[in-house]
């Protein structure tokens, strides 16, 4: 009798074994070193660049615009809250040589004494954050050279009183370090170095700065973006310049909304920086949020794909 029980038990276990879920037979291999995608949705936050690059054979056409002061002495209803003025306009084209290497050209109006800017730039993302955290951050190098095409100013104290061609050049070098903490939150730190061959009298040729920024998703297509840049200007230079020009230096702070319409990225932002280019907003933001000297800005970017198929 017992034996029969054993037989039944044993066969029962054998059958259960056979019906073991097919689940366990299949396993999906995780692609090795899978990269984190979409840390940011576009190559720019508001004032800062991001680690994002466009892919090989893609072109990004981008128009940035900064209006005049919304409030304060230069804003208000008389110039329709700044919409009558534009402090800076930049039109740029970027092209993907590789998935992680972009080159670009741009023309900007310029918002300081130095105007009519032509820019050549390069962005190289040499490290990409991985899903398994083997690589915890993405890191990109951004470098740009800007040349001013304007007529040299006569005032010898002016930053635009060029005497040689090389006086017209300025260089920006940034290391963009970013991490996507979750699908909803990405943060970035941007150590920056700016070199201007020629500056206003008693200003600094070399300037270090630290930028921080982030993006928080509100919905699938809308995100809040913000960035802040802190330049390390020598206090003696700063004091002198502020006394001579009668203008104070401020740190650029931008906050905005980023909307992804699928192909278009539309930014609606507010910042106290009048200039769009790194070579200018890092060193010369003379407007203050506290005085109502912030402005509406927008940018429209459109990506074109030249890959076959």
């Amino acid at each position: 009798m017992r034996n029969i029980l054993f037989i039944i038990l044993c066969f029962a276990s054998a059958t259960a074994f056979a019906q073991e879920d097919l689940d366990k037979l299949i396993h999906i291999e995780d692609p090795k070193n899978e990269k984190v995608t979409a840390t940011f949705k576009s190559g720019n936050l508001i004032n800062l660049k991001t680690t994002e690059t466009i892919h090989r054979n893609e072109m990004d056409f981008r128009v940035d615009h900064r209006f005049g002061d919304i409030a304060g002495s230069a804003g208000g209803a008389k110039n329709f809250f700044g919409l009558d003025n534009s402090t800076d306009i930049r039109i740029g084209f970027d092209y993907g040589l590789l998935d992680n290497l972009n080159i670009g050209i741009a023309r900007a109006k310029g918002a300081t004494e130095v105007r009519q800017l032509y820019e050549g730039n390069l962005k190289y993302r040499f490290l990409e954050q991985t899903v398994d955290n083997g690589v915890p951050v993405s890191v990109a190098f951004f470098g740009s050279t800007t040349v001013s095409g304007m007529e040299a100013a006569e005032d010898k104290q002016s930053a635009a009183s060029f005497t040689r061609f090389s006086d017209r050049l300025s260089y920006v070098t940034q290391l963009i370090i970013a991490r996507k903490f979750s699908s909803n939150l990405s943060l970035t730190v941007v150590p920056s170095y700016l070199h201007r061959n020629y500056t206003a009298y008693n200003d600094q040729n070399d300037l270090f700065a630290l930028g921080i920024g982030g993006r928080a998703k509100v919905s699938n297509r809308i995100a809040l973006v913000a960035d802040y840049i802190f330049p390390f200007r020598k206090s003696s230079n700063k004091k002198y310049r502020e006394e001579v020009s009668g203008q104070r230096y401020y740190n650029a702070l931008g906050v905005g909304l980023e909307m992804d319409t699928g192909g278009h990225i539309f930014h609606l932002n507010f910042t106290n920086a009048t200039a769009i280019q790194e070579s200018q907003f890092i060193s010369e933001t003379n407007s203050s949020w506290g005085k109502g000297q912030f402005r509406w800005g927008f940018s429209i970017a459109r990506r074109f794909n030249f890959n076959k198929k």
Partner: protein, 184 residues
């Protein structure tokens, strides 16, 4: 009596093990599994394929399973791939898509030949599970079973929202094609 019963336990365990092993072979794992989808809309045709999918079937019970990691789908345009994962599939939240079902009439698959059999089951995409039935073609040759099936999936059924601005680029109903090659 005691000795005999210990012996019989041992014997039966071995027998049970053999039986389990014999049964095990009725489960077939696919060596090559691919899943492709096609979206045909007025402005754009989109095709993406994953060759990193996995599948297994049981030739006795007819049970069949497919599973694929959404981020493994490869698109010609990488920006589309990013949108696919970020905006539509939300691959962070729902990393896998899965089909679990039963093949009707698997006893035929013992002999070589071509068979069209119905497969009934549930498909989970974007965290939403829906019942599906599709006709699958099984090609059996020397113990190797090649299976292919194709069926439509309505994106709205799986709560995948297409904004009207890109409505002419993405089809409301996409065609899914699955291929698997089962070997013993």
């Amino acid at each position: 009596m005691n000795k005999i019963s210990i012996f019989s336990i041992f014997f039966l365990m071995v027998l049970g093990g053999i039986a389990a092993f014999a049964q095990e072979t009725s489960s077939l794992v696919s060596k090559e599994t691919s899943i492709t989808f096609f979206s045909s809309a007025p402005l754009e045709d989109i095709e993406a394929k994953s060759t990193l999918a996995a599948s297994a079937m049981n030739i006795k019970t007819g049970d069949i399973i497919f599973r694929v990691k959404n981020t493994s789908f490869q698109f010609d345009k990488k920006l589309m791939q990013e949108h696919f994962n970020e905006n539509y599939m939300e691959s962070d939240k729902y990393p896998l898509s899965e089909f679990k079902g039963k093949i009707e009439g698997t006893e035929k698959l013992i002999k070589d030949g071509n068979y069209t059999l119905n497969v009934k089951g549930t498909l989970q995409i974007h965290g939403v599970t829906k019942p599906y039935t599709a006709a699958a073609v099984f090609n059996v040759r020397a113990g190797i079973i090649k299976a292919t099936a194709s069926f439509p999936v309505r994106l709205a059924d799986h709560k995948i929202a297409i904004p009207s601005i890109v409505g002419k680029k993405i089809a409301e109903v996409v065609k899914i094609k699955v291929e698997a090659l089962y070997k013993q």
